[in-house]
């Protein structure tokens, strides 16, 4: 728990920033930025998360880049979240009607003002359910960090099992803890959705 939760929170926050930047690159209409975003998303989505973690932690050492387990995990999970979430955010931005941009421009807003004040707030509402999916997946995916020596929840369970020989009990307990975290997160999702739905007819 002491590692799983900060790992998730930090990686998700950085991942979200990456995702917004990547989505804006994709939608920028500037070929170079578009290509950068496409390549990034393609590489991350096209390779297993476990392999990415291995490259960052075990692989980079051979070219002289040594990363501690925890920061290596942060980098891996952030990059991963950023790629997947960028597609969610891109879709959410594109789902906002063109008339909203035009209304913004008609009162003399510039691109940045329209994006920040009008488009992103509405896109946020649309993207909460799929982003919650990513967040919840990330909580569970952090168990993969055990393979690169991060003593998060799952690795801790393994260590205890090694001394007590009670795998069923301990792994079940780990499962229950993951489930509890995810359950609390989905309650949070409900609360945010309720708040953001205040301005739509239900």
């Amino acid at each position: 728990m002491a590692r799983t939760i900060p790992l998730t929170l930090i990686a998700f926050s950085i991942g979200l920033v990456l995702a917004v930047v990547t989505a804006l690159f994709r939608l920028s209409g500037i070929k170079l930025l578009e290509i950068i975003a496409r390549i990034y998303v393609s590489i991350i989505r096209g390779t297993p998360l476990l392999v990415q973690l291995y490259i960052i932690f075990f692989g980079l050492v051979s070219i002289g880049i040594e990363v501690d387990p925890f920061p290596a995990a942060i980098v891996g999970f952030s990059l991963n979240t950023g790629a997947y979430a960028s597609e969610i955010i891109r879709a959410a931005i594109q789902s906002i009607p063109k008339g909203q941009w035009e209304a913004s421009y008609s009162i003399s807003m510039n691109y940045g003002q329209a994006l920040r004040r009008i488009i992103i707030p509405q896109a946020t509402r649309v993207s909460i359910p799929p982003l919650s999916n990513s967040f919840i997946s990330l909580v569970k995916d952090t168990s993969l960090a055990s393979t690169i020596m991060v003593t998060e929840m799952f690795r801790k369970s393994q260590e205890i099992v090694a001394t007590t020989y009670e795998p069923l009990l301990l792994y079940t307990e780990a499962a229950l803890l993951y489930w509890t975290i995810c359950f609390l997160l989905s309650l949070g999702q409900d609360a945010i959705e309720k708040h953001l739905n205040r301005y739509v007819q239900t």
Binding site: G99, E102, A103, S106, I107, Q113, Y199
Partner: protein, 245 residues
């Protein structure tokens, strides 16, 4: 004064505006009519530079945009500040209440203090008859009320010219009157207006000049009384007959 010189706009091979010349004196109301596809909405969108004309010149007071040269974003934005746009589908910001919709431009674009902007927005909403709906979200308002918020939102930027793109076309018949009434009051206060509409009653009562457009041209223009009683052009006659059927 608004003046349009030799304005051209095409989408790919499709020529939508084919050399439009028009002058609108300050305080006058021009109503643009014409069949669908005649270019009237595109003309209005060019005046707000939501569409960039391919050729021609726009001028409001002493600001000019000449589209035969390269026009920068900055020029467009500063030109736009002189025009207010009212959309057929209102395009209110759904995540903001009526008063927040009206305050948004002054606060974000003009950097006016929130409190001052709120006061001004309150006055504008009262003016359009929505003093009691200020804290409602758009979805809680009828179409006519939403469109009146739209008018207040455009007025909040203190434009020189107000542009109306079929402002009542999406409304139920019983809600049209309240929007036209607000527009009529604006006209009486001396606002310069360009209105694309099919409301001939409004054109007759309020317009100083009616423009009939077809095929990207201005086919005929004149005072509404002459135009409606003795249209000189065959196509204008046909169109007006169709409308009165």
């Amino acid at each position: 004064m608004l003046s349009i010189n030799n304005l051209h706009k095409q989408f790919g091979d499709l020529v939508v505006l084919n050399g439009i010349d028009l002058k609108v004196e300050t305080g006058k109301v021009v109503v643009v009519i014409g069949p669908s596809g005649s270019g009237k909405t595109t003309l209005l969108r060019c005046l707000n530079v939501l569409e960039t004309p391919n050729q021609g010149e726009l001028q409001i007071n002493n600001q000019t945009l000449d589209f035969s040269t390269k026009v920068t974003k900055k020029n467009i934005q500063s030109f736009r500040k002189q025009t207010g746009m009212v959309f057929q589908t209102y395009n209110l910001f759904p995540h903001k209440t009526a008063i927040e919709n009206v305050m948004e431009g002054p606060v974000i674009v003009q950097n006016i203090k929130k409190q001052k902007a709120r006061e001004k927005a309150r006055q504008l909403l009262e003016k359009v008859g929505l003093g009691d709906k200020m804290d409602y979200y758009p979805f809680q308002l009828s179409g006519g009320q939403q469109q009146r918020v739209g008018i207040a939102r455009a007025l909040a930027m203190e434009p020189e010219v107000m542009l109306f793109d079929e402002p009542t076309s999406a409304l139920d018949p019983e809600l049209i009157g309240e929007v036209l009434q607000v527009m009529k009051e604006l006209a009486e206060e001396g606002m310069t207006m360009v209105v694309v509409t099919h409301e001939m009653g409004f054109a007759r009562d309020v317009a100083d000049e009616v423009i009939f457009m077809e095929g990207g041209h201005i086919v005929e223009h004149g005072h509404p009384s002459e135009m409606f009683s003795h249209p000189s052009n065959e196509r204008t006659k046909e169109f007006l007959n169709l409308l009165s059927e």
